[in-house]
């Protein structure tokens, strides 16, 4: 059983999608429990795999029984396994919270929603676990396609947002595919492990450098690094809340993971960081992304838009941190994958609760919300603190490593950008908290002194419990940062 985890991890959700679709014609009822079971099993498998990797080191799974580089291989090390756990956890939690949001929307097509949902998740899991660069492309596309559909079913502007995402996403994936083509042209192989053996022998070749550039260009589009971010804010903020809680925390993070994986296991760190200009260029791109993402977030009037631009800035954190090239920066970037996934999940769940109760996410409708939905607001505040980077929430610790890495590498621009974005986040979130905290004011700006009691109107329990779990984890993960860093991340860092 345990040696089959890599296969089960992905195929169980995938197969469940077929069941959901086929049974959906009979009744919409079984769709949700099947999806839940499938994702629970994925979580179980990824945990099992994680344990396996921690115990025995790298796990390799040969699909079809063919040895690499001839067949497709799943290569799982601590980094994959860690990201796998994050993905399956986030997906499961969001699915629990999604139940009430899905009920009543999508006009009888909820089985299709769940089927696309689980396929999206299995695609993400596949991307993370695979050890084959072309297989990664196929999985990238399955994630993207289901993602377009999920986003396109949002509110009235969603189809256009989904369409633009599709165009940009396809450009990104195609560039990645082109990069893979260049790689294949130069090496003749598609297996990551095999590639990393071949590339050092021919690394002076122009073709490899361009393969590198095209792969990263594609990934940058997919992860919405600043000048290529245009698709993200609309796509994430117009999508249905049930889907945005899945897509927003995971997609960009998984793309960051892919970037890390490509650098570690395909192009080799020596080659990637050895290039004279590129790492610096990437760091500066990241700095611009952080600053611009933060500034653009300030200009928004909708919660989801704000969160989307924060994601743009956070992508800059991770890209910049990773390309610092020292162990602190990379630790920070990898730690931030998990932390940011949790933080974004928390905030999108909160936004989902708001939308569920208020039916919109405009900031001006948030007045008095702290009295109306105190529990959700508590979670929101903790999530906000984590994004700002206040200890002991987990956001602080990844930022800690990132800044430390920045100082160590002498990239003070990056450090300044990180601090700047923290400060902007303070303003952003306290602007929101202020709106929710101060009661609706009368016209002359003074509050009535007899405070009108605002009735409680919390989101249902099925949405609060996942939120509570996520929020507690924000602090829990923060306090166990050391275990994560020493137990997992330090193992996977390459020696440069």
């Amino acid at each position: 059983m345990s040696e089959q985890f890599p296969a089960l991890l992905i195929t169980v959700p995938l197969i469940s999608a077929f069941f959901i679709t086929a049974l959906g014609w009979r009744s919409a009822k079984p769709a949700y429990p099947i999806a839940l079971l499938a994702l629970a099993s994925a979580l179980f498998s990824s945990m099992g795999l994680f344990g396996e990797v921690l115990k025995h080191g790298k796990v390799s799974y040969r699909l079809g029984g063919w040895p690499p580089p001839f067949g497709i291989e799943y290569a799982v090390d601590a980094l994959n396994a860690f990201v796998l756990v994050v993905i399956s956890f986030v997906a499961l939690i969001n699915l629990i919270a999604a139940k009430r949001k899905v009920d009543g929307s999508f006009s009888g097509k909820s089985p299709a929603f769940y089927a696309l949902y689980v396929m999206f998740v299995s695609g993400l899991l596949g991307i993370t676990v695979t050890g084959d660069v072309f297989n990664l492309y196929v999985l990238l596309e399955i994630t993207a396609l289901t993602g377009y559909a999920l986003i396109g079913m949002g509110d009235k502007h969603a189809p256009l947002a989904g369409f633009n995402y599709l165009i940009m996403g396809t450009i990104g994936a195609s560039f990645y595919l082109l990069g893979v083509g260049y790689l294949y042209l130069a090496t003749g192989s598609l297996n990551m492990g095999n590639l990393s053996e071949i590339i050092p022998t021919i690394q002076s070749k122009q073709t490899i450098i361009f393969a590198f550039i095209f792969c990263l260009l594609g990934l940058f589009i997919k992860m919405a690094l600043f000048p290529l971010h245009n698709w993200l804010p609309n796509a994430y903020s117009y999508s249905p809340p049930a889907a945005s809680g899945l897509i927003a925390p995971l997609t960009t993070k998984v793309m960051i993971y892919v970037m890390i994986r490509l650098v570690y296991s395909v192009f080799t760190p020596a080659f990637s960081f050895g290039h004279p200009i590129l790492p610096t260029v990437f760091i500066w791109l990241a700095i611009i992304a952080i600053v611009m993402g933060s500034l653009l977030a300030l200009a928004q009037k909708n919660l989801l838009k704000i969160l989307s631009y924060i994601i743009v800035a956070e992508v800059g954190y991770m890209v910049g941190g990773f390309w610092l090239g020292n162990s602190d920066g990379m630790t920070g970037a990898i730690l931030h994958i998990a932390n940011d996934a949790l933080m974004t999940l928390c905030l999108f769940l909160v936004a989902g609760n708001f939308i569920f109760v208020l039916k919109n996410d405009r900031l001006e409708s948030f007045k008095g919300l702290i009295h109306k939905m105190p529990l959700t607001m508590a979670a929101f505040i903790i999530g906000a603190l984590s994004i700002i980077g206040v200890p002991p929430t987990c956001g602080f610790f990844s930022k800690w490593y990132l800044i430390k890495g920045g100082i160590e590498a002498g990239q003070y621009g990056f450090v300044a950008a990180l601090l700047f974005s923290s400060l902007v986040n303070v303003i952003l979130f306290f602007k929101i908290i202020e709106i929710t905290y101060f009661e609706p004011e009368t016209k002359d700006g003074h509050s009535l002194h007899h405070h009108v009691a605002i009735p409680r109107e919390e989101a249902p329990l099925s949405m609060l419990i996942p939120l509570a779990i996520t929020t507690l984890l924000l602090i829990g993960v923060g306090l166990y940062s050391k275990e994560i860093v020493t137990g997992i991340i330090q193992h996977v860092l390459p020696t440069i």
Partner: protein
């Protein structure tokens, strides 16, 4: 010197957090709710007291709560300076709780449950700061305090509170993230540790310019200390209910700020290290500037709480000045001033609140003849202002005395002048109030003759703190011995 591993420091920190759910649950029964507050306050004080004997014997307590990063944990450590501060704040919490009840009920304020919850949280954070064993823990509790006090500052939830709340957060959180965090990381990067040590963390190989930069980042970064130009949140935060101003803005918040500065100067940079680099003088001038300017501004204030606020800004810099002198007597004076000023200033704030509860007046120009109506309050006010000015019978005399000695000891004659001038200024902005209250005839403000004191829940605490101020002049223990002990430890390495 390893301390004794004990859970008691954590208990001292956590006891008020644990009270929060209880307070929340009993929001319908005000008496029970306030009972919880008192219970927590009392317990906290007792726990802190129980830590005292060992500390006085030269020992210390430590506790690692959790190891968050490799080589870096959230750690508590109780030493003499920490317990000095903890003692002050936990004892004053009890008093303030009593006062709060009188004040909040007297004015029929809204959301009292929330008020008491965040009050308790703030106290936890304060004790946490006092017991922090490293800079990270300090920073954690510092941020926690900033956030926990925000709802207190903006308690009224009107436009003014909103504006001040913004300013408050912008200064406090902005400076801590923008200045302290990078400085902390830089220190960690340079030295590889953040644990406080009186020898200082630096090896001496770093360039003085870097050290100066870090020092300035830290000094200004702990904006709660109100060093100019990072002071203007303090007067703004006076929109809060008076007990909040009293405890938090005369005792907990601002004192946390200076406490942090003192900790960093003595525990991170090390007094001796700064002395060799002669960086103390820079600090001295920064503090001196704040002292004089704040006193001058205070003179021009008509709002009583605003005048007190600017007085606080000035007095805080006394403490910074004391440490910046880098001489044993100066540091002793600075540390003592934390306690002395706390008792004096809280009395003054209590009085201002009591006047507001009883008459609704906020401005000094309205106070003509109020002494006849509220003799006890104004009497206490007199004692408090004596203490802050630094003349007997106020306890502030002792600390100021040590500060003056410190300037002489370190040959900073200019600072001596600054101290004297500022004392005169202090007198100039406090004594007219007392004069006005007792000797001016009641004007057309319409104060009726006859006694009309504030509710006894307000009155008793302020009488008590005034009494304490006087007592401290004659019996400055245990504060004096604690300060002396920590100075001994600081200077041990010399």
């Amino acid at each position: 010197m390893e301390g004794i591993e004990s859970i008691r420091p954590l208990l001292a920190v956590a006891v008020s957090i644990l009270a929060v759910p209880l307070i929340m649950l009993s929001s319908r029964k005000p008496n029970l709710r306030e009972g919880w507050t008192f219970l927590a306050a009392g317990l906290k004080f007792l726990i802190v007291l129980s830590l005292l004997p060992l500390i006085l014997d030269g020992g210390s307590y430590t506790l690692t709560i959790v190891q968050v990063l490799p080589g870096l944990g959230i750690k508590l450590r109780v030493d003499s300076f920490g317990i000095l501060f903890a003692l002050v704040s936990s004892s004053l919490w009890i008093v303030t709780s009593a006062y709060s009840i009188g004040y909040m009920r007297g004015l029929k304020e809204h959301s009292q449950t929330r008020y008491f919850c965040f009050f308790a949280l703030s106290l936890s954070a304060t004790i946490g700061v006092a017991f922090s064993a490293n800079l990270l823990t300090l920073y954690l509790f510092y941020e926690m305090l900033s956030l926990a006090t925000y709802p207190l500052v903006t308690h009224h939830q009107d436009a003014e509170a909103r504006k001040s709340g913004r300013k408050y957060l912008a200064y406090i959180v902005g400076s801590s993230i923008g200045l302290v965090l990078p400085a902390m990381l830089a220190i960690y990067y340079l030295t590889g540790t953040l644990d406080f040590s009186y020898q200082g963390l630096f090896t001496g190989t770093e360039s003085p310019l870097v050290i100066l930069l870090l020092l300035l980042l830290m000094i200004f970064g702990f904006a709660k200390a109100g060093i100019m130009p990072f002071h203007s949140w303090l007067p703004a935060a006076m929109v809060a209910p008076t007990p909040v101003s009293a405890l938090l803005h005369a005792v907990a918040v601002v004192k946390v700020g200076v406490f942090c500065i003192v900790r960093v100067v003595t525990g991170v940079f090390g007094v001796q290290f700064l002395q060799t680099l002669q960086l103390g003088t820079v600090l001295c001038y920064i503090a001196a500037f704040t002292i004089i300017t704040a006193s001058l501004i205070a003179l021009a204030q008509d709002n009583l709480k605003a005048r007190l606020a600017f007085s606080t800004v000035g007095q805080l810099s006394y403490i910074v000045l004391g440490v910046a002198l880098l001489s044993p007597l100066g540091i002793t004076g600075g540390m003592l001033h934390i306690a002395m000023h706390a008792f004096g200033k809280i009395t003054l704030f209590f009085c201002a609140g009591a006047i507001f509860v009883a008459t609704g007046f906020k401005n000094i120009s309205q106070l003509n003849g109020i002494g006849r109506k509220m003799p006890f309050t104004m009497g206490a006010f007199f004692v408090g202002s004596m203490s802050v000015i630094g003349v007997p019978p106020g306890g502030g005399f002792i600390s100021k005395w040590f500060l003056v000695l410190g300037t002489i000891e370190s040959d900073q004659w200019i600072m001596l002048v600054v101290l004297l001038v500022s004392s005169i200024l202090n007198a100039a902005y406090f004594l007219p109030i007392v004069y006005r209250a007792f000797f001016h005839p009641p004007g057309e403000t319409g104060i009726s003759t006859g006694m009309e004191e504030a509710p006894s829940f307000c009155l008793i605490p302020l009488m008590f703190t005034a009494f304490c101020s006087i007592v401290l002049l004659f019996f400055p223990q245990p504060f004096y011995s604690l300060a002396e002990q920590s100075v001994r430890m600081i200077t041990q390495g010399w």
